[in-house]
Symmetry: C2
Subunit: 214 residues, 2 copies
DNA sequence: ACGGCAATTATTCAATCGTATAATAACAGC
DNA sequence: GCTGTTATTATACGATTGAATAATTGCCGT
């Protein structure tokens, strides 16, 4: 009885790692962190479970890589929305809107974010990843604010800029979290509109200054 | 060889359930959700594992009860801070401060909150608990705002009140989350001060109107 | 004081987890 | 085309999990 071994094809390290990470995210999005077992992930990636330990030291390290991938994706789309070839006001507006419309406000994204956030408290590696992303996000907001107030001709001390950035970031985070958790309570533009009006108030701008194009 | 069975004492259903729930929270706070196994919980509660299924249908149901306990605790302390025997402005101020100082901004509270948030996406029972608490929180904020603007003599339409409440809630949530996650980045009063200034701006009040007593 | 109810313990079970190791097949270099 | 390297599969192992069942002991009513 010849052993009928499964046929397979070799892949480059880069794409195999990516496949495994994407499969991890699929599993988490579907069943939560408890659904992300090495077997389920391997099955979803079309390989066998043992392969995971060939590319990662262990399951934990793969989860960290997956967390990095999620956070990178979130910040990348938000930052990409604030295109450099536009006026500071438009960039700030686009940045806010991008954070409160799909694909950032998306059930799957929230599931992934939520699955990882609890690890921050327990595992220092996850804490480092979070810290890194939070500071990067904060700095991006600060740069947008500086450019905006500069164009507007309003003075803005570094300390005040930082305070604005912290509050603005908190507002966006909160709206994103609750808005995505209870997506049925808000329609798509309601969230972004509320954010724009709130940011105007937060920065002590005149109503409509940020939302209206002219 | 006489079987040396462990001696024990009976307890009322109420306190046994509470003991088990508190033990559950202790386990989660210490090791995350993965540390909340029936055996560890039972050990921490000073009973044996089997007893859990005598008071709860299963582990899931006990986790739900624990989640309810956490959320109740958080909203209760915040609402209790807005004492009824004070002026509307003071109540609003106290409410905001209470949400951004210990024991609400506390590493343990965050750990518990974070451990449960991912279940909202997966388990409808957890979604219902979250929804219930979110709406209760929102309504509390709306009532505080109505009383405040009424005393101030400013008109406030129900729609505007709701929009304010949503934004204010998001701001508090975001500050609480990031501030507690990165507690070392902020000192204790910085968070509450930032919140007060931001809420003043959010509600289009004059700077210092909410923070200063007079 | 004692009998019976049920709260609690003790033990077992099947399932599943992450990891380790050995066998094998795919592919590159020559 | 052959050969050596190694990516991949296959299998096994020990630990741990949530749940189910049976045995026992604490305690209340009488």
């Amino acid at each position: 009885m010849a052993s009928a071994r499964r046929s397979y094809s070799r892949a480059s390290e880069a794409e195999r790692r990516e496949d495994l990470i994407l499969a991890t995210l699929d599993c988490i999005a579907e069943d939560g962190i408890k659904g992300a077992t090495v077997r389920q992930i391997a099955a979803r990636a079309g390989v066998t479970a043992g392969l995971i330990r060939h590319y990662f030291t262990g399951k934990d390290q793969m989860l960290q890589a997956a967390y990095r991938a999620v956070m990178d994706g979130m910040t990348r789309t938000a930052i990409a929305a604030a295109r450099e070839d536009e006026a500071p006001k438009a960039r700030l507006r686009r940045f806010i809107i991008a954070n409160l419309t799909p694909p950032v406000t998306d059930s799957r994204t929230l599931s992934l974010w939520a699955a990882f956030i609890s690890h921050i408290q327990t595992d220092p590696s996850f804490a480092a990843i979070h810290r890194e992303n939070y500071l990067a996000f904060l700095q991006e907001v600060e740069m947008l604010l500086l450019a905006f107030f500069d164009e507007r001709g309003t003075a803005l001390s570094p300390k005040q800029c930082r305070r604005f950035a912290i509050s603005l970031n908190a507002l966006i985070d909160g709206l994103w979290l609750e808005g995505t958790l209870a997506a049925d309570l808000f329609d798509e533009h309601e969230l972004a509109d509320a954010a724009l009006a709130s940011v105007e108030a937060l920065l002590r701008l005149t109503p409509g200054e940020l939302a209206l194009e002219k």
